[in-house]
Subunit: 405 residues, 2 copies
C-alpha cells in the first residue's frame, strides 16, 4: 500500500530543508539556493548525465557519491557552473565546504548541484551569503518543503514535489522528492534534477540498485526536446531513521515494497517534468509494443517522441499519423510495414500496413484532448516500452529564442 503524503523531501524522518534568494535569479521573490540535510548520516546513491561535457558540480558530486555516504545536498539555480574550467570545480568544492561548515560535518559528505545558464562563473559572494542564510533557516516546516522545490526551478512553471508512505516489515517508511526540469530534457540516464530522501534503512548496494532500476523506467523514459543537459542528477539519501529491518538484495517482499514506492515517486516526478515541458500544451504517451527487443522499442519510441513533425501535429490537433509511421521507420530498426498497427487514444487508424478508411470521426475530437496516447504495435516480437513526452508549440520557440544569455 502506497499512500501519498505531503511535505516532499522533508516528509521522511530526520530531514530538513532551507532555501533563500541570494541574487542568481532576478526577482527577490524567487529562491535560488537551498540545502537538504539529514540529522544523521545517509547512504547516498546517484545517477548523473551521460553528456561528455558535464558541469563542475557533477564532477565533484560523482566523487562524493562514489564513497556512498552523505549528510546533505546543496543546490543552486540560475547558473549551471558548466564550461567554467578549474575555477568552476573549485567553486563547487567551496559550496560543499561552506555547507559542511555550517552543518558541522565533513566537506566530503555534501553533494553539490547547480542548474541554469552554461558558461558563466558562479558569483561566489552571493553563493556564500546564500549558503549561510539557507543553513540558518534549515527546518522541517511546510513552507520549507515548498520553498526548496521552488529554489531549484529554472524555466519550470510549477514546483514539483511528492512524498509517499509505505510499510516495510511492519515499519512505516517514507520517501520524499523534489524535481526540476522543463527544457533540455532527453532520456539518457538521469535527465534533470531529482533529489529523493527516505528514512528507510537500506544497504548501500541495494539503494544503488533500486535507484538505477527506478530511473530506467521513469526519468530515462521522458523527453521534451531531445537535448541532454550537462547537469542532470538524480540523487537519493537514506538515513535509516524508520528503523525497519535493513533492506538488502535478500529482503524479498520488503524490498519489492520499497522499490514500488520509489518507482511511484520517480514516475510521478518524471511525468510532472513532461507536463511542465517548455511550452507544452499536451501530455503524450508513446507505447511501442510487439518489438523484437526492448532496445528496438525504445529506439522507435524516442524517434517518434522527438520528431518535431509529430510534436507539432499533436500541438495542432492534427491526426497526421503518417508522421508517426515515418518517424518509426528511421529508428534503424527492421520493420515489416504489413504488420504495423497504429492507434491514437485507442482509435485504430492504420492496420496491418493500410489506412483505416474512412478516418474514424471520433479521432478529430480525441486529437483535441490534453492527453494523447500513441500505441504502435510492430508485430515483430513481445517486447514493449512506454515513453512520455509533450508537444512542440510556438511557446517553446518563444521561451528558447528569447531566454537570455
Amino acid at each position: 500500500m502506497i499512500k501519498v503524503v505531503s511535505e516532499g523531501v522533508i516528509a521522511p524522518k530526520g530531514f530538513k530543508a532551507g532555501s533563500v534568494h541570494c541574487g542568481l535569479k532576478r526577482s527577490i521573490k524567487n529562491h535560488d539556493i537551498g540545502i537538504i540535510t539529514s540529522e544523521g548520516p545517509c547512504k547516498a546513491a546517484a545517477l548523473f548525465t551521460t553528456n561528455q561535457i558535464v558541469a563542475a558540480p557533477i564532477k565533484y558530486s560523482r566523487k562524493i557519491v562514489r564513497k556512498g555516504t552523505a549528510y546533505a545536498i546543496v543546490v543552486n539555480s540560475g547558473n549551471a557552473n558548466a564550461c567554467t574550467g578549474e575555477k568552476g570545480y573549485k567553486d563547487a568544492e567551496t559550496m560543499a565546504r561552506l555547507t559542511a561548515e555550517y552543518l558541522n560535518v565533513s566537506p566530503d559528505k555534501v553533494i553539490v548541484a547547480s542548474t541554469g545558464i552554461i558558461g558563466r562563473p558562479l558569483p561566489m559572494k552571493k553563493i556564500q551569503s546564500g549558503i549561510k542564510k539557507a543553513s540558518m533557516g534549515l527546518c522541517n516546516q511546510h513552507i520549507n518543503a515548498v520553498n526548496i522545490a521552488k529554489a531549484i526551478m529554472t524555466t519550470d512553471t510549477v514546483p514539483k514535489h511528492i512524498a509517499v508512505k509505505t510499510r516495510i516489515s511492519g515499519k512505516g517508511v517514507t520517501i520524499g522528492a523534489i524535481a526540476k526540469g522543463s527544457g533540455m530534457i532527453s532520456p539518457n540516464m538521469a535527465t534533470m534534477f531529482c533529489f529523493i530522501t527516505t528514512d528507510a534503512s537500506i544497504s548501500l548496494n541495494t539503494l544503488r540498485s533500486c535507484i538505477k532500476k527506478s530511473v530506467e523506467h521513469s526519468f530515462n523514459q521522458i523527453t521534451v526536446d531531445g537535448h541532454m543537459s550537462t547537469s542532470d542528477m538524480v540523487a537519493i539519501l537514506a538515513n535509516g531513521m524508520a528503523y525497519n529491518r535493513t533492506l538488502t538484495s535478500k529482503s524479498g517482499n520488503a524490498l519489492v515494497s520499497f522499490q514500488k514506492a520509489l518507482d511511484y515517486v520517480t514516475l510521478h516526478m518524471a511525468k510532472a517534468i513532461v507536463r511542465d515541458g517548455e511550452g507544452a500544451t499536451k501530455f503524450i504517451q508513446v507505447d511501442i509494443n510487439e518489438a523484437k527487443t526492448e532496445s528496438d522499442a525504445k529506439e522507435i519510441a524516442r524517434r517518434v517522441a522527438e520528431s518535431p513533425l509529430v510534436k507539432t501535429a499533436i500541438n495542432g490537433g492534427d491526426p497526421n499519423w503518417g508522421r508517426i509511421i515515418s518517424a518509426a521507420g528511421y529508428a534503424g530498426v527492421t520493420l515489416d510495414e504489413s504488420r504495423l498497427c497504429l492507434s491514437i487514444n485507442k482509435i485504430m487508424i492504420y492496420k496491418n500496413g493500410l489506412p483505416v478508411t474512412p478516418i474514424p470521426k471520433k479521432l478529430l475530437s480525441e486529437m483535441k484532448k490534453d492527453e494523447i496516447k500513441i500505441q504502435l504495435n510492430l508485430g515483430m516480437g513481445e517486447k514493449s516500452t512506454t515513453l512520455w513526452t509533450c508537444d512542440l508549440s510556438k511557446e517553446y520557440i518563444k521561451i528558447n529564442a528569447e531566454y537570455h544569455t
Copy 2:
C-alpha cells in the same frame, strides 16, 4: 571551369519536360504532376531514403534503377503514395505504364516519384489525365524548365533548379537539376527529391559511383528538422548526347571535371533546400574540425544542427553557446573539455574549455546576421565535416501544426 547556365533539367542536350495541374494541389495555378524525359535512352542511377517505411514509388523505382536504364521520370506532388499497401504499388506501376505509353517506350524504363501527404490513396483519375496532358506538353522551352521545378514543390516557397556547363575531353557537357524539400529533411542517404539530367556519356558504374560520392557531401549533410522522409530520392539520367569520350573510372582528369560539376549542382541544391527550410530565417553552417574520425565529426555536427535549443537560440539571435557545447557532448563521442574551441562567425567565444571573457561585443551583431557559421574544434584528431541547417522559428510550428491531413 564550371559555368552556371539556365534551363535546369532541360539544359542538357536531348531532355524535355512537361507539367500541369491535375488536381492534387488546391490552386489550379500550382502544377502537381510532371515528366522529365530524354530523346534517347539514359544510364540511370539513384539513391533512395533509408527509412524502413518507404513510399510505393520508391519500392517501384528501386527495381527500375537497378537495371540501369531509363527514358523518363514521372513525378507528382500533393500525395506521397506512402503507407498505401498493394494498391499504392499498383498505382505507381500504373503511373509508369501510362507515361511509357505516351512516350512510346517500355514501362520498365520510367522512374516514378511522389511527394506530399502520407496515407492517402492516389486519386488515379486525376493522375491519369495529368500524365496525358503533361506528356502532350513535353518541350524544351524556358517555361517548361521553370514549371517542372514548381510541379514538385510541397511546402517549398521557391522552385529550386540549376544547370552548369563544363568541358570534358574537349566537349561541352551540361548537368541540370531540379530539387524539392523544405520539411522532413534529415541527412541520411538522399533526403528529398533531386532529379538530375546530363548529356555526358558515362558508364553506368561510374555514374553510380559519382552520384553516391556527390550525395554524401551534399544532401546527406543537410538537416532541417531531423525527420527522415519515406519518399526521398536523388536520381540522375545521363543520355550521352554530348558525345564526349565515355567516362569510366579510368578517365582521370575528365572524370574529376565531371565529378566537380556534379558536386557543384548537388551542393547548390542541398543548400537551396536548407535556405528554404520550413520557417527558416537563418542559414547555418556547422563545421566540426579536429575530430578523431569523420564519423565522430558527423555525429557531433548532426547533434548540434538538430538541437531545438541551438536552433531557437540562433532564431532569437542569442549567443547562447552553452547549448552548442552541451549538444556536442551528447553525440556519444569522447571529448576532452579542455581542448574544445568554439567560434561563431569567426569570433572565438570558448577556448580550451574556458569562456572568452568578456563576451566579444561584435558577437551580438554577428548573431543578428542571416548566415551563422559555427566552428567547433575538438582537438582530438585531423578529421572534419561540414553540415548545413536552418533555425527553428514560430513559423515552423505554424506550418506544421496547421498543415492539413
